[in-house]
């Protein structure tokens, strides 16, 4: 019985969604896709297939690393602004303002060209163990994207920390918890739950910022498509495929993070 009811329910919802005009739109869309597949040139795909996979992997890797590191940095940034003393709150606020007030491309170029031109002047930098890394482009890309994510998410965390009801913290103190334990058991988890809904949006924004690293010669998926365009003289095909890839990643991200969000108790505070 119950199974039958769900089937009927699903069918009813499907027929509600699949109205006649939608069928026409979907058919038109499919026709466009097939036209693109048949009338555009895709013979370059086998040749650049492996390069594209490496680029895709690099994009995802940069996204994961910068989001993780950025969030870890955002927690102290938010905490310092929400509860820190003036000498801690003022510089963190200034940091967030500067990051959010200047274009990421400029920050990236400042780090790559600016710092990159500064380091070789000092012999001790060139002799240090870090030099092999500092000579490459990707550390600057990762650093710029991490700082950017931390700047935006730090502002969110400030609001999240400030939004936890005072009564909760007072109750924790009344139980005799130390300040560290209050942060670990009460304040941070609740602030994290509050910040989570924004995390999906911020992660998608971060994904959309990753192609900027291609401008400092990191070979991510965007750079691969530029390379294909240069060597095959095709304008649209690589860009359309690239847009499709980014859309797919965005879709997967939104779906996966939505699943995580749905598991959070929604009655907080």
């Amino acid at each position: 019985m119950a199974v039958e009811a769900t089937i009927v329910n699903v069918a009813a919802r499907a027929s509600l969604w699949l109205q006649p005009h939608r069928i026409v739109l979907i058919v038109t869309g499919l026709a466009l896709v097939f036209a693109a597949a048949f009338f555009m040139r895709w013979d370059w795909l086998p040749q650049y297939y492996e390069m594209a996979l490496v680029g895709l992997w690099r994009t995802l890797w940069i996204l994961a690393v910068t989001c993780t590191l950025g969030f870890l940095l955002a927690v102290p940034l938010g905490l310092a602004q929400a509860a820190g003393p003036f000498w801690l709150a003022a510089p963190t606020k200034a940091f967030c303002t500067v990051i959010r007030g200047t274009p990421l491309l400029l920050q990236l170029w400042l780090l790559y060209y600016g710092l990159g031109s500064l380091f070789p002047q000092y012999p001790w930098v060139r002799e240090s163990w870090m030099w092999p890394y500092l000579r490459q482009a990707w550390p600057y890309g990762v650093l710029a994207l991490t700082l950017s994510f931390a700047g935006y998410e730090g502002e969110v965390m400030r609001g999240a920390f400030a939004g936890v009801p005072k009564g909760q913290l007072e109750a924790a103190r009344a139980f005799g918890m130390s300040r560290w334990k209050i942060l670990r058991r009460i304040w941070l988890p609740q602030a994290f739950y509050r910040a989570l809904p924004t995390l999906t949006g911020e992660t998608v924004l971060q994904l959309k910022s990753t192609p900027l690293v291609a401008t400092i010669s990191v070979i991510d998926i965007f750079a691969v498509s530029s390379k294909v365009r240069q060597s095959t003289f095709l304008t649209y095909e690589p860009l359309l495929l690239l847009a499709l890839i980014y859309m797919a990643i965005t879709g997967i991200l939104v779906f996966a993070l939505g699943k995580i969000e749905a598991r959070i108790p929604n009655k907080i505070g």
């Binding site: 959010r100 400029l106 400042l110 192609p211 359309l240």
Partner: protein
């Protein structure tokens, strides 16, 4: 220190003038794109709220795609596709090919991107207007155009301003992306100046200060506009 001042001076031995021209171009493009985005946003929001099923689905498609694909990719696609399409149309109609100026192309491309975000902001703001106000205007027999001009736009303004302010700041920063397609705005001007003089840190920091000032001044003006748009309404702090 003296060398930095010399480098940044606005007259030819220094590169300050070049940066200021770049800033002017950036602000022009940001303002144009923001304006175009507003127009698209109002039309899009109306379409999403009051349009037929096909219009609604097409608009949902537009906003989803634009928000899921990186701006850089969209800029490249629209920049090449747009100029290519216009030229093909012109040759098909028997006219000469034209060079589309970077300014117009930049405004069109960024405006198209802004329009998608703007649509969502406006839609939310129109939904936040107490429904009775629109119903009352309809009951008085106002035509849709008059209703839009007298009731909907002014009443939604206080709800739309925070979102629109964000969009303006995004617009000023997104102009930097046009440097990648070779449009001469502040970031590209900075890179050229830095490349010629090899004073990378000086110029990128100077450009950062300029962008930051642009943001801070914008915030001041936005605060004024918001206070004006919310006049007569309870302050946000009391409302909570």
């Amino acid at each position: 220190m003296a060398r930095i001042i010399e480098l940044l001076s606005p007259t030819p031995p220094g590169w300050g003038g070049t940066l200021l021209v770049g800033l002017l171009h950036s602000v022009e493009i940001a303002a144009g794109a923001f304006g175009l985005g507003l127009v698209i946003g109002i039309c899009g929001a109306y379409g999403k709220l009051y349009g037929g099923p096909v219009v609604r689905d097409l608009l949902a498609f537009y906003t989803t795609i634009v928000r899921a694909v990186p701006e850089l990719v969209l800029i490249l696609l629209l920049y090449y596709a747009g100029t290519d399409l216009i030229n093909q149309l012109l040759t098909a109609m028997g006219y000469q090919r034209i060079d589309i100026s970077g300014l117009v192309a930049g405004i069109a491309v960024l405006g198209f991107v802004q329009g998608a975000y703007s649509t969502e902001v406006m839609r939310g703001a129109i939904l936040a207007i107490p429904q009775g106000q629109i119903e009352a205007a309809r009951a008085y027999g106002m035509s849709p155009g008059l209703l839009l001009r007298r009731i909907t736009l002014p009443a939604m303004l206080p709800f739309a301003i925070p979102g629109l302010a964000n969009l303006w700041l995004i617009a000023t920063k997104d102009t930097a992306l046009l440097a990648v397609v070779g449009f001469f705005e502040l970031t590209l001007a900075t890179r050229q100046a830095a490349g010629v003089t090899k004073a990378y840190l000086t110029f990128f920091l100077a450009a950062g200060v300029i962008y930051l000032l642009l943001t801070l001044v914008s915030n001041l003006i936005i605060g004024r506009i918001e206070a004006w748009a919310r006049r007569g309404m309870p302050s946000l702090k009391e409302a909570h």
